[in-house]
Assembly symmetry: C2
Homo-oligomer: 196 residues x 2
DNA sequence: ACCTGAACACCGTTCAAGT
DNA sequence: ACCTGAACACCGTTCAAGT
């Protein structure tokens, strides 16, 4: 209770960080602004200076999640030299790993947000996420692994499958022990389906 | 306020029905037991007789959702006579239609439920849902449209793709106008990938 | 500019008591 | 068996007031 004006005015960042922690531990529905404020030793009304309401805070956390996921994908991308199948597999595995290790975050990121006005930011984050997949498909077309056609549409189609595995693995429909096999099966079908 | 002992003791059913309505209109996070009770003219403590807590009510609603989705899929299944591609397409379209027209319900059904003890019921509901897909894959193997192998694994692989489209369409990542095209692309790749 | 304290209108859950 | 009323410990949001 000794330190006033918490964190040099960096309450916003502190809130986001703490929100990320409690999200991971207890899920979005159990995240309360008042508890966050308590954890950071500020009054319960303080968060409203930085986020207009609970939804705005959660949107900001989701946006950070997209950035982190994009970074994870970019880091996992072995580049075109690895070969098409290996590259797609690396990207897919990184996606599924992220979804499984950040269940609550991914649930927040991919929960309905139709009425949100923060949709432009989301779209940009999404583009960054999709970039390595686009690159993989485009390179696949050059190496003869992928049939001709609109890169974006083909990339989306690939993403559907990977997202399906990631989502179902994340919520436990696919048992932890079967995830590798399930992803392998999905990739086998996907790679064959993409061939010229 | 005149009618006491609401609905001949069928408060449980009335709660589920009303919960379904407010879920559709305002989403799971905005569903309050007290508001439900108000809508049904019972005291705010009444629901606890039929559902031990809020989570139990939502689980029951999700379970009904699986039953309804299974029914929708069974009804949409044209049977083996339609041919493999047409059959798979009918099932996929029914899945996506359900996901888009029942956004909030599908979000509830496919939200993390790892710690729930109502997991056995969920598993049974899931099996009913998967039945037509299993049948389509098994028949596809007989007609030479699908490669040999474990039916369950192949069916799951098909489901990943369709679920991916359904989920992303449901939350608005795929714009409404592009859903048909996206599903078409996904099915093209899937059917090719499944071939012997 | 940023935070506090009090106030308002909500919650879920529990439990004695009523019918 | 089923429901009520009161109580408890929470919420999100707003707004005057402080620094």
């Amino acid at each position: 209770m000794a330190n006033r004006s918490y964190h040099h005015g960096d309450l916003r960042a502190a809130l986001l960080e703490q929100a990320g922690r409690t999200l991971r531990e207890k899920g979005a529905s159990a995240l309360s602004l008042r508890e966050l404020a308590r954890d950071l030793n500020v009054s319960h009304a303080a968060p409203s200076r930085h986020f207009k309401d609970r939804r705005a805070l959660l949107d900001a956390v989701a946006l950070l999640g997209f950035a982190r996921m994009a970074e994870a994908l970019a880091k996992a991308d072995p580049g075109p030299e690895a070969g098409f199948r290996a590259r797609l597999e690396a990207l897919a595995r990184a996606t599924v790993d992220f979804a499984v290790s950040e269940r609550e975050l991914i649930a927040l990121m991919f929960s309905s947000k139709a009425d949100t006005d923060a949709l432009d930011d989301m779209h940009e984050a999404w583009m960054r996420l999709a970039a390595p997949v686009y690159a993989a498909i485009a390179d696949g077309q050059r190496t003869g692994d992928v049939h001709a056609g609109d890169v974006e549409r083909i990339a989306y189609s690939a993403f559907f499958t990977v997202h399906g595995v990631a989502n179902l693995a994340s919520i436990g429909v696919i048992p932890e022990a079967d995830i590798d096999q399930a992803l392998g099966d999905a990739l086998d079908h996907l790679v064959r389906g993409l061939r010229p």
